[in-house]
């Protein structure tokens, strides 16, 4: 083992030599990763097509996710279902002086049942009162990372694949307080899981050594939270919306198996661990402008991820991790812009959007430098089927770029997502 560490250290120094400047940007402490942070996943074909700029203009059961107050616009019982398809790609290249030599690429595709919701408007003589229930996949852990490195006397390759999600099991209610003001609340039980897989293999030739890691971590998430929403129509053209997601304290139960194979000797470390992680509150606001057949909306969402917090009553060591965790993350202000044009004579709606969705990392650590923040564009359409059903299809492409200045890996991530949803109103 000592021999291997010595060899690895030499290799590491070789790799690090050209990147001293980059490393100087970050702290030498340990980056703490929580994959549930900043993992929001859009639901509904219309929302995806508008880059999720729908806090004000959402008009179907997905309001349970985006703004429960908007449920008041539903006048008929509605069943909603949605499927998502996402293709993730990671391309990792080694930096100077090995660029062009060490390149790795991997794709990961996932098709998921995204949503099922039921909205029930209560008969009213005046105003609106709507109840809704649903299951929505609002956080996605799906991701992949791969690397390949060839330096003198050694080569290494790694593959990471992560799958899973957190779903919201929710009930919501919305009521009109005045002809133009509505409020709503969604009560949520979060439940989900993450499957993490990491395989790394290193070969060293002087002297000959091999090392392989095979890691599996299965995490179960559960938590309770609420979402408050309001919606106000200033006049016939302008409307505003505001939502607040309460902090959520997740209980995370993990089972892990770490397998280390070194020069043919296998060592297995397995166990279970449980801890609590609190997500901070999140606020969103939006404004929409609409004419007879045109809608444009601009939304913002703010979350201060540096307020992520472990419950160190679980484990005194988490107190120290809390400090690293909070230095690892930063606040994030997302900006979404979406528009749609309605062609009523063809029962058709066309839409598109753009989203600036910053990664929540603080850039304080050299291992996780943001080279290009996460942006996405989208488009989609809806088709009204015989006055009882609405087909929504949205497509979004997102990309971002990270640099690991320690191992000097430039990582490009892209995501192509298609969301298909169908609403049926009785």
């Amino acid at each position: 083992m000592r021999c291997f560490i010595a060899i690895a250290s030499v290799c590491l120094l070789i790799v690090l030599a050209p990147v001293v400047d980059l490393q100087a940007q970050g702290e030498t402490g340990e980056f703490v990763s929580e994959s549930s942070a900043g993992s929001a996943f859009g639901v509904g074909g219309r929302a995806v097509g508008m880059s999720e700029a729908v806090i004000v203009s959402v008009k179907d059961g997905f309001a349970i996710v985006y703004n429960p107050a908007a449920l008041v616009k539903i006048k008929r019982p509605e069943f909603l279902g949605a499927l998502s398809y996402e293709k993730l790609n990671n391309e990792t290249a080694a930096g100077t002086p090995f660029e062009g030599v060490s390149v790795a690429n991997n794709d990961l595709s996932k098709t998921r049942l995204s949503s099922l919701t039921l909205s029930v408007p209560v008969p009213t003589y005046r105003g609106s009162f709507v109840l809704a229930f649903g299951v929505n996949r609002t956080h996605s852990f799906d991701n992949t990372f791969t690397m390949y490195s060839m330096v003198p006397n050694s080569s290494s390759r790694g593959l990471e694949e992560v799958g899973g999600s957190i779903r919201e099991y929710a009930g919501a209610a919305a009521i009109e307080l005045s002809p133009r003001l509505a409020v709503g609340i969604t009560l949520i039980y979060f439940r989900g899981g993450e499957d993490y897989f990491w395989n790394f293999r290193g070969d060293f030739t002087a002297p000959t050594e091999t090392l392989e890691y095979i890691d599996n971590i299965k995490s179960d998430y559960s938590g309770v939270g609420a979402r408050l929403g309001s919606r106000f129509e200033l006049n016939r053209n302008f409307a505003l919306g505001f939502t607040l997601d309460t902090p959520v304290k997740y209980k995370i139960e993990q089972d892990y198996v770490f397998t280390t194979i070194e020069n043919g000797d296998t060592d297995i470390d397995q166990g279970a661990y449980e801890y609590h992680l609190t997500h901070p509150l999140s606020m969103s606001g939006g404004a929409s402008f609409q004419t007879r057949t045109f809608v444009i909306e601009v939304d913002v969402r703010y979350t201060d991820w540096s307020q992520l917090k472990y419950d160190f009553d679980d484990d005194p060591f988490l107190l120290q991790d809390n400090l690293s965790l909070q230095r690892s993350y930063d606040d994030a202000l997302s900006v979404m812009v979406g528009a749609e044009y309605i062609i009523p004579q063809y029962d058709l709606v066309l839409r598109g959007g753009f989203k600036h969705d910053p990664l929540p990392f603080s850039n304080a650590f050299a291992v996780n430098q943001i080279e290009q923040d996460r942006n996405s564009f989208s488009f989609g359409f809806s088709y009204l089927i015989d006055r009882v059903a609405m087909l929504d299809i949205g497509y979004a492409r997102a990309s971002y770029e990270l640099v690991d200045a320690v191992s000097q890996l430039v990582q490009k991530y892209t995501s192509d997502k298609v969301m298909v949803s169908v609403g049926y109103r009785i």
Binding site: R126, S128, L177, P179, L181, T291, P344, D347, L384, R425
Partner: protein, 185 residues
């Protein structure tokens, strides 16, 4: 702690809004029967219907049928009814729709009338060209008296007159016609 305070503040704000604005949304329409009820000489209680809807609905022109028709309900909802039906037409209004004998969808009043024909004066108001089917209740002759006259012909006006006379003679409130009428014998 700060987050909790924000949530509490918002909850209080929403509650204050509901209290201060009043409950705009009405699930159950207020009882419109006047409290000035009275008992007649036969012991029946009568109440007056308050038909002055505009007393509470001054803003009817802006919010017809209790709904604010902003630009969210643009004109094409009616030009192309599929849109209006999907987004704007409350499902409980379907109750006001029905189909006629030809299968044509028509709109009209809420079809809530039942047991038609057994309300006084128990005639159809026009002269029948053929004998009417017998009434579904057993003692029509006794109650209607002149109801027999109606079925045997004569002008509608005379039939109506006969009924009126019968009512004047008996001076009794109308009896229920459904089910067993033990008291009629």
């Amino acid at each position: 702690m700060q987050a909790r305070n924000i949530i509490i503040a918002i909850a209080v704000g929403v509650a204050a809004s509901i209290v201060s604005l009043g409950c705009y949304t009405i699930i159950k329409h207020p009882d419109m029967q006047s409290r000035q009820s009275y008992n007649d000489s036969e012991g029946y209680t009568h109440t007056a219907q308050d038909r002055d809807c505009m007393r509470c609905h001054q803003d009817y022109s802006e919010y017809p049928y209790g709904y604010y028709y902003s630009d969210y309900y643009p004109d094409y909802y009616w030009t192309y009814p599929s849109w209006g039906r999907y987004y704007a037409y409350p499902w409980w209004w379907d109750y006001y729709w029905y189909k006629d004998d030809n299968g044509t969808v028509v709109t009209g009043e809420r079809p809530d009338r039942r047991r038609q024909g057994i309300t006084p004066p128990y005639t159809r108001g026009v002269e029948p060209t053929a004998p009417l089917p017998p009434p579904s209740f057993p003692n029509s002759g006794q109650i209607g008296g002149s109801g027999g006259g109606t079925t045997t012909g004569g002008s509608a006006g005379s039939g109506g007159g006969t009924n009126t006379e019968e009512k004047q003679e008996e001076q009794k409130p109308p009896k229920r016609r459904g089910g067993t009428q033990k008291g009629d014998d």
